[in-house]
Symmetry: C3
Subunit: 289 residues, 3 copies
């Protein structure tokens, strides 16, 4: 399977899909093509949220403000996954998440044992699951004979490279003529929140950050959702807001704090935009209490 993500809007990604089909019949799963344009950080956040839920795949992601410069194109290998992208940190958060992947979705359904899932990678050694826990990120540079000959690297470099890596096999990347091992790559890390505990164990002070705002206006922080457990209200920058499990628990237009699908604290509004009501945008520092 190949996954495809970009900030290209439409219809440019169709040319990437067409280019892939010249080299591979592998299924193409679109992650999104409407990432905010040239916003590597937001796209990196979403790739981290989505890619680890996929079975082993070659992931092709292009948000590339440096196209036309001498930035490299890279391919990372994390166990049975490969990630193909410009060398600007775009896929690093996702790659690290693949080192410690989430539980397979659906394991909460009664009677479902994820080990029985037909698509799970099997381990020939008979040790179930061992094969699926990679321990390192291996990096390769993608060699392009004349990068300047194309202005659409998504179609002419990244998509074909991902398709050819898929066809040759992720385990065979070392032998691929257009891949060269390298040890360095641009990294991108989301900041950890600073959590201070007072004498009173219930009185937490948290310095966090808005990581991204999603298309609905939900402002997603870097603060783990478990700090909201057992709390009814939390102060954000000095203003108190209700903590709820569902938007509908507050009146229409009212701000709220909840835990999003990403597991982090999210500022939202029932039938409205959280970024507007809370007056925040991506990158803002926030203080919770």
């Amino acid at each position: 399977m190949l996954t495809l993500a970009s900030d290209f809007g439409t219809p440019y990604p169709a040319a990437m899909r067409a280019a892939i089909r010249q080299h591979s019949d592998a299924e193409i799963l679109d992650v999104a093509h409407d990432f905010p344009r040239q916003d590597v950080r937001t796209a990196a956040f979403w790739l981290r949220e989505v890619l680890p839920y996929a079975p082993p795949a070659v992931h092709c992601a292009v948000v590339d403000p440096g196209v036309g410069t001498d930035r490299s194109a890279i391919a990372l290998r994390v166990g049975e996954h490969a990630l193909v992208a410009p060398d600007n940190g775009l896929v690093l958060p996702a790659a690290r998440e693949l080192l410690d992947p989430p539980a397979i979705a659906g394991s909460g359904l009664r009677g479902v044992d994820p080990v029985d899932s037909p698509d799970q990678p099997s381990d020939e050694s008979g040790d179930p699951g061992a094969a699926s826990t990679p321990t390192e990120i291996e990096a390769f540079e993608i060699l392009v004979d004349d990068p300047a000959s194309s202005t659409f690297h998504g179609r002419d470099v990244f998509a074909p490279a991902a398709a050819l890596i898929h066809e040759r096999g992720v385990s065979e990347m070392d032998a691929c003529p257009f891949l060269e091992p390298r040890t360095e790559y641009v990294d991108l890390r989301f900041p950890d929140p600073v959590i201070e505990r007072d004498d009173d164990p219930d009185d937490l002070q948290i310095q966090g950050q808005i990581l991204v705002v999603d298309g609905f206006g939900n402002a997603i922080t870097n603060v783990p959702g478990d700090v909201l457990a057992e709390r009814d209200r939390v102060e954000v920058d000095g203003t108190s807001w209700p903590v709820v499990d569902q938007y509908a628990a507050v009146e229409s237009g009212t701000g709220l704090l909840t835990v999003g699908s990403h597991g982090n604290v999210e500022f939202a509004v029932n039938r409205g935009r959280g970024d507007g009501v809370f007056g925040v945008e991506a990158g803002d520092s926030i203080s919770l209490r």
Copy 2:
């Protein structure tokens, strides 16, 4: 085949697709992921318009204002189709339509006999077509061990349940460990119009409703299109509008009545928005004459 529909925008549905791939290789056909947020009624309308045109499939649809409450998750079986959704009525109009499905698209092409289509369900009894006419809607509850452990039921409950039902087979739903037969579910019905005939058979009085407004601003009513046959103009709430077969029959910006792809009367504007010119929105009562 699996179909997938939601109000999740982007990129959340990609996590649903990835989750499906952990359990099934079945093809995924996206219906739409930009349904108006938390608007069960509009999504139910569109699901009814689209799903009955598909061959037998497991349909997964999530528009779920009640996530986080104790609303159930359900799976319906209608012949060879299954529908997986929150128990809020979302898939009931589509389920009922599957009891009386439309003709297979393309049967108007010269020389094409839909019975010859390779994907048609065959009936071993030799009675063509009999297998494809289900007579009842069977309901199951989807059992989740700890629903509150996830805030993203689309990824963690509905998508995996649909994938696993597909893998085990729709005919085997009775034996599925996470499905339990039940007789009740939340229903949702669109109102029928009230059509009064005067002494003059040509003088119809119709009390109808705007069911939904589509992305182009076309206001779709619950009034069957055949009432427009042989008519040049129709009064809507006292104002007369032209009846046309194609938008271009009136000047740019002019309102018109036509029959949409759904077979109902639609208020539209050539190169404009019908909801604006007609001053209507979803749920409004309208009177035609």
Copy 3:
């Protein structure tokens, strides 16, 4: 493979995909469904940019302001490709491009020989590549028994016709019961620019046109990109603008000329809309010097 393109927005294209699945299991590659509504010219431009990058396929494209009139439905054959569309010129630029297709994407990757690609059409005569160079556009009319019985020809005519042509084989179109050879069809051509050279070979005067504006506001001209080679600045309608390889080479909000992925000169703005800053829209004449 089938490709699918329209101006239907959402969720109408899902009904087309469902209809295809009644007749064919072929992969469906969506080109775009958000072409500007009823804008045949813009859609024709994008189809020309995308379709030639695909391996042999049946391409179904519907932008159809004449639906409801007596316009024909056509199917074109260009070598191993077929194009199904309303007879309004929509697929003619793409069809002509298939007579002279671009290099296979990815041939710039080191060590990659496109002839080795698994999906390349093979030529039984042993003459590699010969099969992939069609020399003519063959036209067929799609025969529909009662066109007026449907208002959604995308679902009821074009999608099923494309699916059935795929199943029967593009080489068997002559024997297809709903296809009839014809010699005439509506054509659509984009104008060529007029390039005048002065005594000074570096002083070019070019009369061109804005062909389309893409979703980011980039105004794409009909002027081939090579006229920008070795130039730092170019005058557009008397105003001088920088020529750059990448948006980031100018300040945020500043206009620029560059060569787009389509190979033509494009008016753009770093982190802004080129159509606004340059004051142009599709169809405008422009003068470059």
